[in-house]
């Protein structure tokens, strides 16, 4: 099946075409079957291809296929080589992990969507968009060079925009007065900033280092002279800014919380599990470049760690169930970037995978809660839903424990690998920030779980009486994801935990692609006891966070209102999301509008003025000249005579 990898992104496109052209006339059942079926086809081919790949010896695990040349370029780079960019697709251990996550989680979410969207308008439209998303995302991860990845990158951005604005006429945010369509537009525009940097980075890379192909980047960059080091760092940073846009890092994270305007399966698939991790994937892909640009890596680590803490604090005060999860996603993405920044590439991808499982599960669980209560999203109006929705409750709790990093669930292993990577590579401050963020994560996640599922219902009685468990098409994917969230981490058990016995399958699987990274990060033998101690610390922090949440929201030993009142300035700061949207409004949008107004005025009065002036002058001259057009033939003859006479006089006088 290895030879068929080019087809993996094509299957969902078939769904796009069929549902796009005939979706209105097909029954919902048929639309759902087609929409899920094409993704299942991709999943099967992906699984077959990865299986075949795994049978090869580790260093030979690479397969590339091309749909033909795309852009042939003349001499570029320091040595003036001719470079041709192909429509190439490649499967290696890294993209193998990605396609399995994308098609696997994607398929479950498609099935879930059939149940979740059953009462909504535009059922077929939804599946067209989300199938297109799958196609573009698979293109992104399978592309063998940056440019093909970029096509997918833009494609998923488009689908994100379309799906955020899916309920385009509904109001979304009362605080900012946005509609869902506005939220989509915001996501799209913020991403343009990142994409602009991404394109610049690619252009520098291809013109200065003569490569866009992932296999040749490391080699080309290694040959770069000392004079090109600054350029290399610049390329790394530009690509990272692109990743910041797509993966919602400071300062471009503002679109992701608003992206929650989309239907919940979209939040799960695009804005939690797959698309937003594309930045992490791309940075890991370019690890060959980044190891030669340590300055850029340091920036990535700092931004990642800062985002992890910053977003977690906003998650504590949010009251919309999906917003809490959105800030959590931003925070967890910060974790992944911090891992990439300290050189723990495997840990970044490992956390990407486990996060895809438990965050998709959390979103789908939240969707199930919302669905069961006919659209209620405010957690201050929920409570005690445990009995009404047992499956949702149990799966949600599994995911909450996983994200909090409780042993032995998936999040524990991936999070600890990141923490260990930060500590052992000497980034102690990054470790401290991430450990603190882990405590915050445990706190806000259990706050969410307690507020939604425990205690007594705080909304109106009617809604509670009608609250119901979701249909099987929704609970089955929840259950499968819960199993994955529980055991998904076992593929990457650190050797330290087993007394030095190395069974870290995940690490060895990715080794051919990202190398072994920092020796200290990956080498578990000599740091064994230290690593175990750090695990204990992280676990203690997580338990402390959970305990605090339990005291406040379960035992009511501490009142949330009293605490908020005690730390009023901090609470206000978090509740208003650090006024970042307002800051951007004042610092960027207002000046931008002023410049726009000036430009509009310049266009209207100066540019248009010149055109109008030429018209007015022509008109005046015409008004004067028309006086000569008397219509009397004898006048014309006289003028003719005068003209001839004048010419003769002139010629005679010469």
């Amino acid at each position: 099946m290895l030879k068929l990898i080019g087809l993996i992104p094509v299957f969902p496109l078939v769904g796009v075409i069929v549902n796009g052209l005939f979706g209105r006339r097909l029954s919902r059942q048929a639309v759902g079957i087609i929409g899920c079926g094409v993704v299942l086809a991709s999943l099967i081919v992906s699984a077959g291809a990865v299986l075949e790949l795994s049978k090869l010896p580790p260093d030979a695990r690479y397969y590339e296929t091309s749909f033909g040349p795309w852009i042939p370029m003349g001499p570029v780079g320091a040595h003036g080589e001719a470079v041709t960019i192909d429509w190439g697709f490649a499967l290696d251990p890294l993209s193998a992990v990605m396609i399995l996550v994308v098609t696997g989680v994607g398929f479950l979410i498609h099935v879930y969507s059939v149940g979740y969207m059953e009462h909504e308008e535009g059922f077929a439209r939804f599946f067209v968009y989300i199938n297109l998303f799958m196609s573009m995302m698979l293109m992104l991860v399978l592309g063998s060079n940056l440019l093909v990845t970029f096509v997918g990158w833009e494609g998923v951005g488009l689908c994100s925009y379309l799906l955020i604005g899916f309920f385009y006429d509904r109001p979304f945010d009362t605080r900012t007065g946005l509609t869902c369509a506005d939220a989509g537009r915001k996501a799209f525009l913020v991403n343009r900033i990142g994409d602009f940097a991404f394109v610049l980075g690619m252009l520098y890379l291809v013109t200065q280092f003569a490569t866009l192909h992932y296999r040749t980047v490391a080699g080309a960059v290694a040959q770069a002279g000392d004079g090109q080091h600054a350029l290399l760092v610049a390329v790394g940073l530009l690509l990272f800014i692109g990743a910041c846009g797509k993966s919602a890092q400071i300062p471009l994270y503002v679109w992701l919380p608003d992206a929650m305007a989309g239907p919940t399966p979209v939040s799960a698939l695009i804005h939690a599990a797959t698309m937003v991790t594309a930045g992490v994937y791309m940075v890991t892909r370019m690890s060959g470049l980044y190891v030669h640009a340590p300055e850029a890596m340091l920036v990535i680590a700092i931004i990642g760690a800062a985002t992890a803490v910053f977003a977690a604090t906003m998650g504590i005060t949010a009251t919309d169930i999906k917003k809490v999860l959105a800030y959590s996603t931003v925070s967890q993405l910060g974790y992944m970037f911090a891992a990439a920044g300290v050189g723990a590439w495997t840990a970044a991808i490992f956390h990407l995978m486990t996060h895809a499982f438990f965050k998709a599960l959390l979103f789908l669980g939240a969707g199930s809660v919302i669905h069961g209560q006919h659209g209620e999203q405010d957690i201050t109006r929920m409570g005690g839903l445990r009995a009404k929705m047992p499956v949702t409750f149990l799966t949600f709790l599994t995911a909450t424990l996983a994200i909090a990093g409780i042993v032995p669930l998936a999040g524990f292993f991936s999070k600890d690998e990141i923490l260990w990577g930060a500590w052992s590579s000497g980034h102690k401050i990054v470790w401290g920030a991430l450990a603190f963020a882990a405590g915050l994560t445990a706190f806000y996640m259990f706050r969410l779980a307690f507020l939604v599922f425990y205690g007594t219902y705080r909304g109106d009685k009617h809604t509670f009486d009608h609250a119901h468990e979701s249909p099987a098409s929704m609970t089955v994917p929840l259950t499968i994801l819960a199993v994955l969230s529980a055991v998904g981490g076992l593929v990457g058990i650190p050797a330290a935990l087993l007394g030095g016995k190395d069974v870290n399958v995940f690490h060895h699987w990715l080794e051919p692609v990202v190398g072994s990274g920092h020796a200290a990060v990956e080498g578990a033998g000599h740091g064994g006891s230290q690593e175990l101690a750090l695990m204990g610390v992280a676990l203690a922090i997580a338990l402390a966070g959970i305990g605090l949440a339990w005291l406040i929201y379960r035992r009511n030993a501490l009142s949330a209102t009293t605490i908020a009142g005690r730390f009023r300035p901090v609470y206000t700061l978090w509740r208003n999301l650090y006024w970042v949207d307002e800051l951007y409004e004042a610092a960027i949008l207002k000046p931008f509008y002023a410049v726009s107004r000036f430009a509009a005025g310049f266009d209207r009065w100066i540019v248009d003025g010149l055109v109008n002036a030429s018209g007015v002058v022509t008109d005046i001259v015409g008004q004067l000249l028309k006086l000569f057009q008397t219509g009397y033939v004898r006048n014309y003859a006289l003028l003719f005579l005068m003209g001839v006479t004048a010419i003769l006089v002139y010629l005679a006088g010469r």
Partner: protein, 100 residues
């Protein structure tokens, strides 16, 4: 042989008469006739120069002008007849449709 200057003077007088006629008369047919007069004054000048210079070029021009004058008369008279049928007059001062 007649002094060529006299012939040229005659040509100039005829041409001026033609111009004066075009400018001063109002009847369309008269104006056409004055145009013919101007053309023939030019012919006379050509012939005179041909005589002085020797050679056939100027005479060829004269033939051209005669043919052209015939065509012009045909077209001009046709227009005058059409005008007359339309407006019942050949007075050019009453025909000023082509104005602003």
């Amino acid at each position: 042989m007649i002094d060529p200057r006299l012939v040229l003077l005659l040509s100039a007088v005829l041409f001026s008469l033609g111009v004066a006629g075009v400018l001063l008369r109002r009847g369309a047919i008269t104006i056409l006739m004055c145009v013919e007069l101007m053309l023939n004054a030019a012919n006379l000048a050509f012939i005179t120069f041909a005589r002085l210079k020797g050679g056939a070029e100027a005479q060829i021009y004269v033939f051209f002008i005669m043919a052209l004058a015939a065509a012009e008369a045909a077209a001009g008279l046709a227009i005058v007849i059409a005008l007359f049928r339309l407006r019942d007059t050949t007075d050019v001062d009453e025909i000023n449709l082509l104005r602003w």
